[in-house]
Symmetry: C2
Subunit: 210 residues, 2 copies
């Protein structure tokens, strides 16, 4: 791993957006596109697009542009959409349920194999064909199934307490919806903190300062 070590966070955060737009173009039967035309669609500069893509390889062709199908596939590879990583979801409240039911985990490189909640009353209930298990079974489940990613839809204190345990159990990545910031300082652990409240407050600011 670590082949693309030099690539900056700013570039990486744009990759899913490229993937999205290229996917649409592909759906619409478009075969090729120049960085200039893509820049107009996406609201980036053509220069930035060429720079970004060149972090990973020369995917284009002078005088022609980029082949959409193959660029889409390349970016998919970079993002690991076919990696099929085993993931577990912890917390089957409103948000956890919505995430479990709503997200296309498969299309993004994940395979949701387990759902946990501390609420005994939920145990056995099915979400997406996956049974909700009691959190007590987490240790054995991880030992037997070796998931590598955990989706946290639990309150801050629970997330704070659980994160180190999950690292012990072999979790390499967190998709964290709790109010708590999982430190980016676990060595060798990837974290995406999704702070919906922060996003809502940013919107509040912008609406007030249009």
């Amino acid at each position: 791993m670590g082949k693309n070590e030099g690539v900056s966070i700013s570039v990486i955060k744009r990759l899913p957006r490229y993937y999205r737009f290229l996917g649409e173009l592909k759906e619409n039967g478009v075969i090729r596109i120049s960085s200039k035309d893509l820049s107009e669609k996406m609201g980036f500069t053509a220069s930035q697009i060429r720079q970004d893509l060149n972090c990973f390889g020369g995917f284009g062709q002078q005088g022609y542009g980029y082949n959409i199908a193959s660029l889409y596939e390349e970016i998919g590879k970079i993002l690991g959409v076919n990696n099929n990583r085993k993931a577990i979801l912890i917390g089957a409240g409103n948000l956890g349920k919505a995430i479990a039911l709503h997200m296309s985990f498969e299309a993004r490189g994940f395979n949701l194999i387990g759902i946990f909640d501390k609420n005994e009353a939920l145990s056995g209930q099915m979400l997406r064909g996956i049974p909700i298990r009691n959190i007590d079974g987490l240790y054995n489940f991880c030992r037997d199934n070796s998931p590598t990613v955990a989706v946290l839809c639990i309150p801050s204190p629970a997330a704070q307490a659980l994160a180190p345990q999950l690292v012990e159990l072999g979790i390499k990545g967190f998709w964290n919806f709790s109010h708590y910031d999982i430190a980016a300082d676990y060595p060798g652990i990837a974290v995406e903190n999704v702070h919906l409240s922060d996003s809502l407050m940013t919107l509040s600011y912008h609406v007030s300062n249009i």
Copy 2:
């Protein structure tokens, strides 16, 4: 409006994080904090904290640091957490339901006054004490209640079609969970596009490139 026009997006995106950490410190009964101590807690540099805060005013005191309660309140004001803007939510599927039930709209400056879905079968069902209405009633509802913010939990094509109509109806801000990017080029309209799929793919990349 537009008083803080010069402030960069990077700074604004950090404000909710300040607000969160200061809120916790306040809860814990801490009275004052220096930029240095705060920097260690938050993982920013002290320099950045002082720069960020000074975009909005001199909230600190030399030799003392920052008073937590008053800084918390100031940032709250900047973010508009007491603005109580009328908001509507469109799309009461899994995600819409979770957002409606899970988010503390009030604590972030919003008052959720209406929920809409095109599915007739959901009409009348209550979420958080708010009845789900049929989307057909949107026009009259907006005319009568003048909401200023719309939360979109609907598929891309629906979001794309609805956005301009909502602008017509007086919506000034979008919290958009659809796959579609609402253009930041509506003049005078604030947009927060929340792309959960993009976040998940970014995590996928990071896990593969630790």
